[in-house]
Amino acid sequence: MTTETGIGASVRRKEDKRFIIGKGRYLDDINKQGQTYGYFIRSPHAHAKINGFDATEALNAPGVVAVLTGPDMEADGIGPIICGWAITSKDGSPHKAPAHPALAIGHVRYVGHQVALVVAETLQEAKNAAELVDVDYEELPHVVEVGDALAEGAPQIHADVPGNLSFDWELGDRAAAEQAISTAHHVTRMDLRNNRVIPNAMEPRAALSEYDMGTDEITLYTTSQNPHVHRLVLSAFNGVAPEHKLRVIAPDVGGGFGSKIFIYSEETVCAWATKKLNRPIKWTAERSEAFLSDAHGRDHETHAEMAFDAQGKILGFKVSTKANVGCYLSTFASAVPTYLYGTLLNGQYTMPAIYVEVQAGFTNTAPVDAYRGAGRPEATYVVERMIEIGAREMGIDPGEIRKRNFIPPDAYPYETPVIMTYDSGNYALAMDKAQAAIDYKGFEARKAESAQRGKLRGIGYSAFIEACGIAPSAAVGSLGAGVGLWESAQVRFNPTGSVTVFTGSHSHGQGHETTFAQIISDQLGVPIDQVEISHGDTGKVPFGMGTYGSRSLAVGGSAIVKAIDKIVEKSKKIAAHTLEASVEDIEHAHGVFSVAGTDKKMTMAEIAFSAYVPHNYPADVEPGMDETAFYDPLNFTFPAGTHIAEVEIDPETGTTEILDWVAVDDFGNVINPMIVEGQVHGGLAQGIGQALLENCVYDKESGQLLTGSYMDYCMPRADDLPTFRVETINTPCTTNPLGVKGCGEAGAISAPAALMNAITNALGKEIDMPATPEKVWRAAQGL
């Protein structure tokens, strides 16, 4: 066994070579013979009625193949875009999910809403023709903020959704939480705003569809985190093609962060139109289209009340949130502010009573759905800001108050009042390590030194928990999910001993080609360069649920382990036959099969060869070495940790400098520490971006997206970020065979609370995200 490439080794990412030398194959790199180009006509209005649509001039323009509309799709029987998770309101009624045709029919409901597709021989011809299409809009009153949308007398966005309320959901024990609050020694009350963010993946969304008249098969290349889910939904709900006549390929995808989970209008339209026109159609979003129409993230308005006893022990927690879901319910939009949010409000603490209610409101804005962390950053922000503010109000050290409330390491499995069962953890250990790393005791001296220079220094905690590896199918099914959340893996030995693994997980930056290969290398003794990871093609992979919720390793990796188990079981039979021993006497370690107590052995490569050249082979064993497994997890995994941020604010300019950042995370067992660290860095950058810089703004009066380009929407850059100090502790997950917990979202979940706690600690005043220089300056100046 080569430990340099096994579990626990920081193997350099195998996939990076092709990315670095420019040989990655992203969607826009793919072209088809005779392809046409699609360009979407989008609404310039936040809310309008379409009184007329005239494409006569466009259809006569050079190169134009077709101009297609919502009524055309409807006439072809193409169904609307769906929401895949059913939420039930307090009163027992199902959530309201108004019909969402892929191209507008009769009304447009946000700026950027897809109205028509112009198809032409070149992109420029498509764009030019789009200028000639005359759409007669009659503007209607609009509303962009969720509080306004849910208020009395707000403009009505959908005729069949009174008051713009999609659902009014609750979880936990209201009476118990209110009782605790009414009798507590101290109650902290706050209004918190979780700002709306725009995903900004490096590669914008894109689609290339092709129809083969000979086989009657449609192939759709698209930027998807879950191509099989795309195929399933496009087939079963939109009716684009039967599932066996629809192949979805998601090649190299340049970042997703959740925004590429969803089934969007554009790829649905392209998949349908290619057969209608019998021409390949290519569409690549311009960056400005991405700003307008990628599903946005977060956007919560919350009122929270946390009750404490005199020692700072939490007695009860009550949270009321208004969640902006945009103008339609996107694929998982209903799950994010409910079961991915309310269930995490217990944090790392023992809380006797929790109650959460969430009202989801429609607005004239782009749909809002999962974005890195998806509900859990929002929950962590509420819990970790509230306990920090509670500590300030009660004069207790913020680290100390957390320690007094931590679930002790011997309390697992721990059932929370909000339906989660944590399997393992050691929260105090993570905090101790983080405090030591940042020299928490020395903070006051550092603060005094900053003050001498006229600067404000602050320190802030985030002791976050998340629920990853979404999740047991039976559990999510009972909560309203329309899909199961298992994963598949196929481990195929080639006759010469190399291995191809087909996984239902999808890599769009996570490094699966390395991490998964390490598992094979470790368990079966195959050199890592002899392992190929194949993903993202429904024509190759049996089935798969894709990548989101930090589930690839915990669920997809576990499926690989299950397939490896089958390989080992079969190999033992072949080894026993060849070595003339009984199966019970065959021992396996890292790809070597030996007869116990002898020096007789076979390697995995020898066994694989004999499986394909079965000249001396057991009669009762099938030839070939190719095993498929499906793995359905027993529980979520619960990564957790403590992050501490230290900042210095210049009160004269309002600029915040992040001086230090310590992240101690418990991800269970770690396969590749370097990839884990990279994932943490990326998550932190996104979390810090949200807390410090990023903010999606729709103009209330006009309904226009004001932050629609990089001139107005500020992404974090290298010089906005400190040198992160990342450590892990490793309490193995007890519910999956690898003992892993998932690391992809941790940084984005933890960072906003840590940073805002540090900034407000420095200011001595509470402010909302993003902590822009203007906002910080006003607070520092007492304005």
């Binding site: 006509i41 989008r42 609404s43 310039p44 209005h45 700026v111 764009k127 789009a130 200028e131 000639l132 299409v133 400005s288 700003f291 307008l292 810089l693 903010n695 703004v697 103009d699 209330k700 009066e701 006009s702 226009q704 997206l705 004001l706 932050t707 629609g708 380009s709 001139m711 107005d712 500020c714 993003p770 822009t772 220089p773 203007e774």
Partner: protein, 197 residues
């Protein structure tokens, strides 16, 4: 957006009024203007190509006049559609005043834009609109005064990219004082001028 301005034109008020009634002078004075058509005494249609930073589009607009007080001024409301680039619409008040043998033209515009113009061009529209207005008045003044001498009319520049460069300081967040309706004034200025026909 809101925009106000004044321009002293070196010609008597009645001559300015007449020049403003000359569709050809207007067409040649307006940056990127292609056509000006009168559809009734108080309604006009026009088309022009305008470029705001990265957004270039052909706009088709119509304008309605009210509060007519020739030769002193009026109010107009207008709307221009730029296809995929979006739209601009709003209201402008224009007045003329004799000043020592010259004419002071005052304007105030209240406009809003939508679509790509608002999304991408919003930071550029203000500067581009001001530049467009400046270019118009420069060309118009020249054309008014030179029409006496039968010299060739001055064509104004079309490209507004330079105007965008005036505003290249990239803020780290949108200003809180966003004027509710940004940009689009240029269109209104132009439409305002058409209305003198």
């Amino acid at each position: 957006m809101q925009m106000e301005g004044q321009q002293l034109i070196p010609a008597p008020q009645i001559k300015v009024w007449e020049a403003l009634n000359d569709p050809e002078i207007l067409r040649q004075s307006i940056p990127g203007c292609e056509t000006v058509e009168k559809s009734s005494d108080t309604e006009f249609r026009a088309s022009l190509t305008a470029k705001f930073g990265p957004v270039k589009a052909k706009f088709k607009g119509h304008v309605t006049l009210s509060d007519l007080d020739p030769p002193n001024g009026y109010t107009l409301t207008g709307e221009g559609k730029g296809g995929a680039a979006g739209f601009g619409k709003g209201e402008a008040k224009v007045s003329l005043k004799e000043q020592a043998g010259q004419t002071l033209l005052s304007y105030s515009v209240n406009a809003k834009v939508g679509g790509k113009l608002a999304q991408i061009g919003s930071r550029l529209v203000d500067a581009a609109a001001k530049k467009m207005a400046d270019d118009f008045f420069k060309a118009f003044s020249k054309n008014v005064t030179s029409s006496d001498q039968n010299t060739p009319l001055q064509e104004p520049p079309l490209d507004m990219t330079d105007a965008a460069d005036l505003n290249t300081v990239i803020p780290r967040e949108p200003s809180k004082n966003w004027l509710l309706y940004i940009g689009g004034a240029s269109l209104l200025i132009i439409l305002a001028v058409y209305a003198f026909n």
